[in-house]
């Protein structure tokens, strides 16, 4: 299939009026939840699961994708105007973005943010277009051992990057796998751990779990941050245009961040948040005035905001071509695809090319829509920020309740959600990272299936190591998991040696 062929297919699907509408709704919703702290793309995507049944697969994916990268646009608004990140991917934007707002330069900060996001987002989609075919071609030769090893690698990266304590991340991973095993076993049909509850026979639903962990828990925790006076800085559309100097100062950061984000986004754990932080560090290193970072340096806004969007786009490569989610939100998105009966992976491109390329085409268009949504409509978003949190949290509660119920038209899921709300709250209090837990939970069915199929092939664990691709990924995964422990031990030994050495002198 030639490049031009793919390109034209991408746009003929994407420009279909109904698909355009879906993209618009997705982008709008994404921006909205990006702006609103406390509700994020994961929860929103889950909320929409019941609606997905009414839409065609391509319509759902276009909309859900729009929500995902749209949220990265919207989240910069709160970071800059209120110093509260709408999404973690914009946390680092709070530093220089808010500083700029305090100096009366909120407009250019928002403007550069949106433009950088657009450039980064579009760049990543271009990369996606060129990377996808060879990636899918490679992946199509994957058998169960390779699929398992890549997934294992992905999970281990996420576990490693999750938090300070490796042991806690691993515990969360194991717990997530156990949770995922509740329900009907794909390979044998046996019903596991359902405790006689009909509502558990199909597994613990992803919707109530995500609603609980991200929606309910978030609100329960938010009550504990000091009630902040929302000092919202005003920003008008005509103020949004950056000066010539701003452009000059932002050009290189945006370029660097586009490449950086697109690269990092391909790897598990390299999501918008990590990309934004790394971009900030990179820009500080490259800057002629690193001491100015934190006081309102525009590179500190341009870089991270470009990087987070760029990585959001790139993340679709492993998801669509390999079926591997690189972040928690992508994992939830994967859940959404599965609801539609779509199995992302190399076969998707072969069997449903119009779906695959249509999504990519709509991502181009989505980025354009988002530029339009985020610049002229900035006034609306600012007004929305002024809604008092008590009303907002009540609404989020209600949406979560509705979402949980409509998952299966079953009140049982509401109770599951409440349980996970408490679980999520406790996880935060006891300092356990959520990412390995939820990704292990989402991936468990596939993880177990590939594991079982591989063992059936050979009868022992060697199969994962005898095939080159599988061996590479498996070994890297194991290395990642044991590295912290080993390096800890080595450090202790070094300190001991040094102490004895010093003692002898």
């Amino acid at each position: 299939m030639g490049f031009m062929n793919n390109f034209s297919m991408a746009f003929s699907v994407a420009l279909d009026p109904l698909n355009l509408l879906m993209a618009l709704i997705g982008c709008f919703l994404g921006t909205l939840v990006g702006v609103l702290p406390g509700i994020g793309p994961s929860t929103t995507i889950c909320l929409l699961f019941p609606i997905l049944y009414k839409l065609s697969p391509i319509q759902s994916i276009i909309m859900l994708a729009g929500i995902y990268y749209g949220a990265q646009y919207g989240s910069s608004t709160t970071s800059i105007l209120v110093k509260i990140p709408g999404e973690p991917g914009s946390a680092v934007t709070c530093l220089d973005g808010y500083a700029m707002a305090k100096k009366g330069r909120a407009g250019p900060a928002l403007g550069i943010s949106a433009i950088g996001s657009f450039i980064g987002g579009t760049f990543s989609v271009v990369i996606l277009m060129f990377l996808a075919p060879p990636l899918a071609n490679m992946a199509i030769k994957f058998g169960p051992p390779e699929n398992f090893s890549v997934m294992f690698f992905g999970l281990s990266m996420i576990t490693y990057l999750a938090g300070a304590s490796m042991i806690k991340s691993l515990i969360m991973g194991a717990a997530g796998l156990l949770l995922g095993s509740v329900g009907t076993d794909i390979l044998s049909g046996a019903i596991r751990y359902a405790l006689g509850f009909k509502g558990l026979e199909d597994g613990v639903g992803i919707v109530p779990v995500v609603m609980g962990l991200f929606g309910i828990a978030e609100i329960l925790l938010a009550g504990e941050q000091a009630a902040q006076k929302t000092d919202v800085h005003e920003a008008k559309f005509k103020d949004l245009f950056p000066t010539k100097k701003d452009w000059r100062d932002s050009a290189k950061p945006i370029a660097r961040a586009s490449v950086l984000g697109s690269f990092l986004g391909l790897f598990p754990g390299g999501g918008p948040t990590v990309s934004a932080f790394i971009s900030y560090a990179v820009e500080k290193k490259f800057s002629k005035h690193p001491e100015r970072f934190g006081t309102g340096e525009i590179a500190g806004v341009a870089g991270p905001e470009t990087a987070n969007n760029s990585s959001a786009g790139a993340a679709f490569a492993p998801l669509l071509c390999l079926g591997i989610p690189t972040t928690v939100t992508m994992g939830v998105l994967l859940g959404g695809f599965m609801v539609q009966g779509i199995s992302p992976g190399p076969l998707l491109m072969q069997r449903q090319p119009e779906l695959f390329w249509g999504v990519i085409g709509s991502m181009y268009i989505g980025n354009v829509m988002l530029l339009a949504l985020n610049l002229p409509l900035i006034g609306i978003w600012v007004k929305i920020l002024k809604i008092p949190y008590s009303l907002l949290s009540s609404l989020i509660f209600l949406f979560c309740l509705i979402g949980a119920y409509t998952n299966n038209n079953n009140a049982f899921d509401i109770f599951v959600m409440i349980v996970f709300g408490v679980v999520g709250y406790l996880m935060n209090k006891f300092d356990y990272p959520v990412a390995p837990f939820i990704l292990a939970y989402i991936l468990e069915p596939n993880f177990e299936r590939y594991f079982g199929q591989s063992l059936l092939m050979e009868g022992n664990l060697l199969i994962f190591f005898s095939r080159p691709i599988s061996a590479t990924f498996s070994l890297i995964a194991i290395l990642i998991l044991v590295y912290p422990a080993i390096s800890n031990l080595l450090q202790k030994k070094r300190l001991e040696l040094k102490a004895t050495h010093d003692g002898l002198e």
């Binding site: 691993l170 156990l178 044998s188």
Partner: protein, 155 residues
């Protein structure tokens, strides 16, 4: 906090044990032909090992283990009360939704949440609940055709 680490690792050890017992019951099979309990046993065993390690490391750290007070766990004033009320409200919604129907349950829930958790005045709570009830009904039931129970009101 060490005390939290100790408590949580004990919990996970317990969880690992329970799941592992279940796994053995479901049948482990063997390496060539894994049964339904195979992966759960692996994961459960891993959980037991890891949490035991974590427990060990938490116990051998230097210094006293402080028993935490409830106030430290819930730092904000009223925090425990509000959270319990919120959870109660959610729970009540789950119980009442099917018998009473979407409209009434949502209305009652919103009043409860706005008034008791959000600390709004009665009038705000009523108005807010009314507005949300109507608009959410239009959005979810009418436009999006979600199947919400009608309960005692035949909407």
């Amino acid at each position: 906090m060490r005390s939290r680490d100790i408590v949580s690792s004990l919990f996970f050890i317990g969880m690992g044990i329970i799941f592992s017992i279940g796994a053995v019951e479901y049948g482990i099979g063997n390496l060539g032909h894994p049964g339904p309990g195979f992966l759960p046993l692996l994961a459960g065993g891993l959980l037991i090992v890891l949490s035991s390690l974590h427990l060990f490391f938490s116990l051998v750290k230097k210094g006293k283990v402080e028993i935490e007070q409830i106030e430290q766990f819930f730092p904000e004033k009223d925090s425990l009360k509000k959270k319990s009320l919120a959870l109660f409200g959610l729970f009540a919604y789950g119980i009442l939704l099917e018998p009473l129907g979407y409209g009434i349950t949502t209305f009652l829930f919103m009043i409860f949440i706005l008034k008791f958790v959000g600390s709004q005045r009665w009038i705000t709570a009523f108005l807010g609940a009314f507005l949300v009830c109507i608009s959410s009904y239009i959005l979810f039931v009418y436009l999006l055709k979600a199947q919400m129970p009608t309960g005692i009101l035949a909407f």
